[in-house]
Structures are given as structure tokens and as C-alpha cells.
Symmetry: C2
Subunit: 390 residues, 2 copies
């Protein structure tokens, strides 16, 4: 069986990721490959590392992309710093905090959970209290919870964590490149992200950065990292000065990441953060004007991902299907505790455009009128159209 | 710091991988993304699975690409079927057999090694004897050893392995799409490959297939798979009928794989295997005519990867550097036990072309004359040129 040529529909991606890939990034992906040990490629790797350090706002030597998607980054972040029996504190206020608990348990960590309801965030005092109760080697939290749209304030967190002698691990998957991330100033020891969110490259790499303090912990491990593929003690020899072959780098994805980082830094990080906030604010205000309720209070609301409460009795999947089929716009439903209860609208990277926000709002208004949630518009012959399935 | 636009040299890739990516595959990589849960993408995933089954020559339901390079495929193959304390038999006759031992030990397996010198292969009788000595849950071997250029004959292996109640795991990284692979007929339970060898897509995915027998073993696990990212009990829910979100699929790489598989099946597997053999035979004969010695006896010689013995006292890196810098041709040196002792020449996928073989031979002849390994050609004015560093 031979299928016809690839011909997917053209979508406007306003979901929780992937975002729309920047055209410049798509273009470099046609670049013919060089070998993964070619001096020209080693130079490209070094450049990617320099660019990544700028985007992470760090001077960490050990800054590189993991050869997998954001979840591989999460697993690398945990697997390299946890040894069996280690106590870890994981802050859970959404789906991705849950995922970290799952992963850490598989690594035979003694997992302590600090919980907040979905959509809320943590205070340094809560973390301090939790560490007094259960001393830990590592504290993990999610900076931008893609499942809830909450943005964790980072002020004061590292102070508390470091005072207890622990490492601070932060998931920056949906924040890096879209909202301020200051790895060094915030005292983050281990951070990872994904290429397919505010960096607007395709999914497939997980940018990661490791502080000297965390590097020391890695060096002091008594057991081997359980995953050979994600073992930073080996991976860093390829990305470091030794250039020892580990696994074949995903070359085209590295090309894509390099270009995406150039696009980010060409715009300028601060300008890019402002753009994300400006477009998100337009979205927030307009959604409220349509009578919809946002889940997260403005104070902690994440510009890259907005959660909207599904009105009581509303068929949320129907609205998403209409948006996709009739307007070629993708937004997402809820995950886990939020399944069926929220919509998730992402404005990340190339997808964070005023035009796309306006188009989404116009399409939403269309559909809500049709569904009689908003008053009908008169049609051409002065009659109202038939209501559709709600 | 902003680097200039991406501009790597154009190389003819005749190393152990990546091979040259087929132009049609590069082209589809500019396709704008759809979401990883878009119905259009789910359809593409299903198509990729159908195409993969054809290329693997299998009807295995559980056939899908792992979201990482070939080594992630190796790790997934081991991690999903090994539980702590399980006895495994690993056949080691090269670098990648060694790597499997390393990975299996990290998974707390009881690892038994069956060894042959690098460049040799195993008989079913040896495996039978080894299993009598150390019963095992799983027997792992490398079909095409990229480090040695040996092709493991598969006849009779599964019979022995299954008679002992074990699963047969086979590394097909450098064989799939280039030399015959018959997963079902050969009784293979777990096979994986990489996209960047004879399939001629960029590195970044590991096609994998799991027999119903192995699926049953997976289902009976008492412990969770230690790697969440590679956990097939979760990954299969996304690739199966449930379509449950696990991690964001590397969408562009899936596009690339789909196109690469279409190219493979458009040529036809048998024709493709014959092309690989024909071009390899031209290479072998010509290398021997140049006075070079091939490491692996013809009987077990791998068409996709040829190892050439470095003549005594020869600076092997110099020759590779000249090929790369002056002819834009990449070949590789040896790994591990073969470091400094062999060259590795790959003819895989799009790189397996008569023209490239002829060009490589012409370039080699040039360099060997210059190095005075072959007699000099007279230059324009009848004098010999100065010899160069040897």
C-alpha cells in the first residue's frame, strides 16, 4: 500500500503546543545533512549552546538540547539527579507536576508531594514548611503549567530550596522564549524546555541547562544513571570538548533549533516577552467580554497558555471540532482534573500574533452565536438560522 | 551574539550514518505542522504504521517509531522487556552489543555475555549452548553491526531462542531498508532501527516492532517500565486506538519518516536490497584492487557498511581528513576495539549510488598516490610532486 503525497490541512495552532513553526525554521529543515562528527556540525552544536545560554539567561557550561521531546527533558532532569532512595519534593498543581511524580517514583525516589489545587501556585513559605517536614535532595516545580495556565512566581523559591541544601529543578517547557525565564538570577539548578512551544521549532528536542552545583551532584553519583540514552555524564562528552560519540544527534532538529534561537534573539527576549503578554491580554479581555470565565486569576495567569472555563452544560468538544473543521483553528480541551471543564488556548512563539487572536475571537463569536450562547445575527433574508447541536 | 544563517558544507555522506537524506524527504520537512492530536495527524500516524509494517515485513500490531534516535530504540527495546533481576543473554561481537550490555546492566538485569571476536558472527548452536548454561528471558543480538560490518545470519536463531522460552531482540539499525529483514519469518520478537541509515531520513526516530508474544510479556510485567518516556504500555495508547496523549510526537520527523517509507516502498524492498548489494560489491572489488583489505569475510559482509583494514603504519585520520576537506566525502574511523584500525564506509539508502562509489574510489586513489601508497601519476611537466605527510 502506497499513500499519496503528504498533504495535511493548514492549521492555525492555538493549542498547548506544538505552536506554529516559524517559516525561517521550516526552511532550514531542507538543509542537507552533515555527519554528527563533522567539524562543521561540531561548530553548529557550539553555536546552539551559546544561543541556548542566552535564551535561558545563564552562564551554565552544561547547556544543551536533549534528543527527545519536552518529556524526555523532564525525564533527563529527574533521572540524572535522583538515585534510588533519594528524597524529592515535587510541587503538584497540575498535570505535569503529576507526571514528575510518576517519573520520580519509577526512579525509586522517595517522593513527597506538595499539593495545591489545579490553577493555583506555591509560596516559598509552603515549600520551606514542606522541606522542614521532609528534607529532600531535590525540589521540582513547574514554572508554566500547560495543563492549568498558571505561572509560578519564582521570587524567593531558590533561597528556600538552597537553604535546605536541595537542588531546584524547574520545568520551563511552556515558558522559555515566551515569558521571562532567568535561570541564573532565579537560582535554578536544573531547567528544561521543549522546542515546540514559545521557541516555535518542531517538537523533538528538549533544551536543558544544569548549574555548576547540580553538575557537582551529578559527578558525585554512586550509581549509574538508569537511562543510558539520557545519561548526561555521557551526553556531555559529546557536547563538551571531548566530542566523544554517544548517540547520533538529530541533526535536522539541531538545525531547526539553531534557526529558532536566532529568530528569538533577533526579535530580542524582552520584546518577545512583551509581545506574548500584549497578545494574551487582548485575548483575556476579549474572552471576558464574550462572557467567558478565565480559570487563573490575572496575577498568576500565563501569557503563553490561557485556560477558559467551559460554561455549565456546554459540549466543549463540539466547539473545538467546529473551530478545527470550519476555521482550521486548533485549541485544546482540558487534561486530567480539567478534562471537559476547560479549553486551553495557546499563544506561543509564531502563534502569538494579534491577527490570530482576532481571528480566533471572530470564529468563537460565530460559533457561540450559532449555538445561541450569544444572540443571533440576522441572516440575509431577515430570518434566523436554525440552531445547531449544542 | 547572533550567528550568520545556517550554511554547512555539502557533504557526500559515506560513513556509518547519517546517510544522505533523500531530497523528497527534505522537501516534506517544510510542511507546516498540525497538532499531535489533530485527526489529520492521527491518520498520518496510522499510515506510518502500515508502511513500517511493510518495511519490517511484519503484521505486528505494535509497530511504531520511538521518539528518539536508534539508541533510544535500543533502550526502549530493553527497558520494556527487562525487569530487575531478569536474566538476559547478549551476543557481543562489536560496539553495539557492548552498548546493549551497558543498558541492560543499568536496568538491573543479570547480564550474560556470549562473545565472538569483532567482525565475526554467531551460530544457533552457540546460542543454544549459552542458553543451556544460563537460561534467559531475552536474547539480544545485532543484525548488522555498524562497528564491524558483519551481518548476522538469522536462520535458525529464533528456533533456538524460542525453544528456551526466551524472546528474541534484534538490532536492525543498519539493516532495515538496505538488506533483507523479515521480522515475522525470522521469528523476531522485538526489533528496532533508526531513520538515518538505509531509510535515508534524518536521525531522530527509532522504528520499532513488537511481536504478540513480546506484547504478552510486556502486559505481564510486575514492575513499571523504569523510563516513563519510553514506556510502551503508555506510548501504545497514543499510537493505538485510544489516542491518549502521552508526549508530543516529533511531528516533522514523522512527516519525514512517512515520506522516506514511501520512497523505500516505491523503489520496492527487493530492488532496494539488490541495489545496496550491487553497489557494495563494486566497492569491495575496487577496494581490493587498490590493495586494501576488507575486515569481514564476504560470507558475512554487510552491504550497508564496509570495514577496511588500515595498512600498517598508516595515519588513518589523515586520509579521512583529506577526503572530507578536499573532496567533501565523509567516511568514518573505527570505534572501540577497531579504533585506529579500520575505516568504515557506509552505502546506505540515498548514499548507495554507483556514482558515489566511483567518486570515493577516485578520491581514494588520488590520496593514496599522493601518499605514495600507490605509484605516483606523472604531473604536467613530467616531474613527481612532493609527497605529503603520511
Amino acid at each position: 500500500m502506497l499513500y499519496p503525497e503528504l498533504n495535511p490541512p493548514f492549521r492555525i495552532l492555538l493549542g498547548p503546543g506544538p505552536s506554529m513553526v516559524h517559516p525561517r525554521v521550516l526552511r532550514v529543515m531542507t538543509t542537507p545533512l552533515v555527519g554528527h562528527l563533522d567539524p562543521a556540525f561540531l561548530q553548529i552544536m557550539s553555536e546552539v549552546q551559546v544561543l541556548l545560554r542566552e535564551v535561558f539567561r545563564t552562564t551554565n557550561r552544561l547547556t544543551l538540547p536533549i534528543s527527545g521531546t519536552g518529556s524526555a527533558g523532564m525525564e533527563a532532569a529527574l533521572a540524572n539527579f535522583i538515585e534510588p532512595g533519594d528524597s524529592v519534593l515535587i510541587c503538584v498543581n497540575g498535570y505535569f507536576g503529576e507526571r514528575m511524580c510518576d517519573m520520580a517514583a519509577r526512579l525509586d525516589a522517595e517522593v513527597h508531594r506538595l499539593e495545591r489545587p489545579w490553577g493555583e501556585v506555591f509560596t516559598p513559605e509552603e515549600i520551606d514548611a514542606a522541606l522542614h517536614k521532609h528534607p529532600a535532595k531535590l525540589v521540582a516545580l513547574v514554572h508554566a503549567e500547560t495543563s492549568t495556565g498558571a505561572l509560578q512566581p519564582m521570587e524567593g523559591i531558590a533561597d528556600v530550596v538552597h537553604r535546605h541544601g536541595a537542588l531546584l529543578l524547574v520545568d520551563c517547557v511552556t515558558s522559555l522564549g515566551g515569558v521571562p525565564v532567568y535561570v541564573d538570577n532565579w537560582g535554578i539548578d536544573i531547567a528544561y524546555s521543549g522546542t515546540q512551544k514559545a521557541l516555535s521549532a518542531p517538537p523533538g528536542l528538549a533544551p536543558m541547562t544544569i548549574s555548576p552545583r547540580a553538575e557537582e551532584v551529578l559527578k558525585q553519583r554512586k550509581t549509574k544513571v538508569p537511562s543510558w540514552y539520557l545519561d548526561l555524564t555521557l551526553v556531555q562528552k559529546y557536547w563538551g570538548t571531548e566530542r566523544t560519540y554517544h548517540h547520533t544527534a538529530p541533526i535536522t532538529m539541531i538545525y531547526a533549533l539553531r534557526e529558532a534561537l536566532r529568530v528569538v534573539l533577533n526579535e530580542g527576549l524582552e520584546r518577545r516577552w512583551r509581545r506574548h503578554r500584549r497578545n494574551a491580554e487582548l485575548l483575556w479581555q476579549s474572552l471576558e467580554e464574550l462572557g467567558l470565565e478565565l480559570v487563573v486569576p490575572e496575577e498568576y495567569r500565563l501569557p503563553t497558555l490561557t485556560t477558559v472555563r467551559v460554561p455549565e452544560g456546554f459540549n466543549e468538544a463540539f466547539l473545538r471540532r467546529r473551530l478545527l473543521e470550519d476555521y482550521n483553528i486548533e485549541i485544546a480541551g482540558g487534561l486530567g482534573a480539567f478534562k471537559g471543564k476547560v479549553w486551553r488556548i495557546g499563544l506561543m512563539g509564531f502563534s502569538s500574533q494579534r491577527s490570530y487572536v482576532l481571528l480566533l475571537l471572530a470564529a468563537l463569536e460565530d460559533i457561540l452565536r450559532e449555538m445561541r450562547v450569544l444572540p443571533m445575527r440576522a441572516n440575509g433574508n431577515g430570518e434566523e438560522e436554525e440552531p445547531v447541536e449544542k
